[in-house]
Symmetry: C2
């Protein structure tokens, strides 16, 4: 692959190089210099496009939240065909995202980026969270009004379980960890199923 003095689209090339590196060694293992080398460019060239190492990392996370929000939105599909089916599809999409976009996922949730320092990141992260909460909200309308938990709590539970499954049972087997006794996808599906039954959204013994 030949290129002249000018790269053409260095900015995005750097983001993609960073993605591979992050997926491979985690967000803290990723270095600006390696990303530059992977994009076939001097480390100094990076500074034409980003304020520095962390700023590049933040851009990766930002793009991740965009994809994430779009994917969740698509999976939820406005609550069709049923609120329940849509909700379960959203859960599956969460895991699919973590599996398919590990670099993005790690930059988003494991890099420890301060949302205060990156307002646009905070914005798009909030948007992604909003998608999850709207899905929870729409499902919670099917519960008896008296005893439904707040939708934000509901969605926090599901999010926590999803994230836990990713970190402990999906990421785990990739490293030298003990492999999960169950496929992460099954684990999350059954877990969400039991949880929804606890909310009266599924028949007690289906």
């Amino acid at each position: 692959m030949k290129r002249g003095y000018h790269h053409g689209n260095l900015r995005q090339a750097l983001v993609e190089a960073a993605l591979l590196l992050i997926a491979e060694k985690g967000p803290t293992g990723f270095t600006l210099s390696e990303a530059a080398k992977a994009a076939d460019v001097t480390p100094a060239a990076v500074y034409r496009h980003f304020a520095g190492r962390e700023d590049l990392l933040a851009e990766v996370a930002r793009q991740g939240y965009d994809i994430f929000a779009a994917l969740m939105e698509f999976a939820f599909n406005g609550g069709k065909p049923t609120a329940l089916a849509a909700f379960e599809a959203t859960g599956r999409a969460y895991l699919a995202f973590a599996r398919k976009y590990p670099g993005h996922y790690m930059a988003m949730f494991e890099a420890g980026l301060s949302l205060n320092d990156y307002p646009d990141l905070a914005l798009v992260a909030g948007k992604a969270r909003g998608v999850l909460e709207r899905a929870a909200e729409s499902l919670s309308e099917h519960m008896p009004p008296g005893k439904r938990p707040p939708a934000t709590m509901f969605s926090a539970h599901i999010w926590a379980m999803s994230h836990g499954v990713v970190e402990l049972f999906m990421r785990g087997s990739a490293n030298g960890r003990a492999p999960s006794p169950f496929p992460p996808e099954d684990l999350l599906e059954t877990g969400i199923g039991i949880y929804l039954r606890g909310l009266g959204l599924l028949p007690p013994d289906a």
Copy 2:
């Protein structure tokens, strides 16, 4: 604090220095040199007690698993007074451990240590997991035998949710993240409650 040429208990002093550093900057931010300095000792001195940086990190994790297993065991209390109460106490103990021993927790679950490289670590990690599974097992005996999920799956669900709550909602507010809308302790308690209701272990509308 005065000391002579010999430290006395450098090994454990290094572990404790590492704990503070890990809690502060995460497992990857921790450096052998800083730990040595915090213990008031030359970096080279560390090599009298550990094979290197990662070996020190592994010892931190090892001690963490010991404390963790003991704490869980204590909280479960052999399933007294009831299997249910004991199980819920175990859940609370999980979060209490993460809060009280953040350095240990991070070394155990966020350092990405390969269990293949540290057999004794794998051993004690397995022991800790065993405690969780026994707690799940004993509670699952109260379910109708036909439709109870395997105890390992059951415990994986609870573990995932607990870990997710720690990572997303406890750790989060410490950093520049959006603070949790609910206290992590409440979040986990309600989450586990709903889950257990889904298993028929709690009355449908209590």
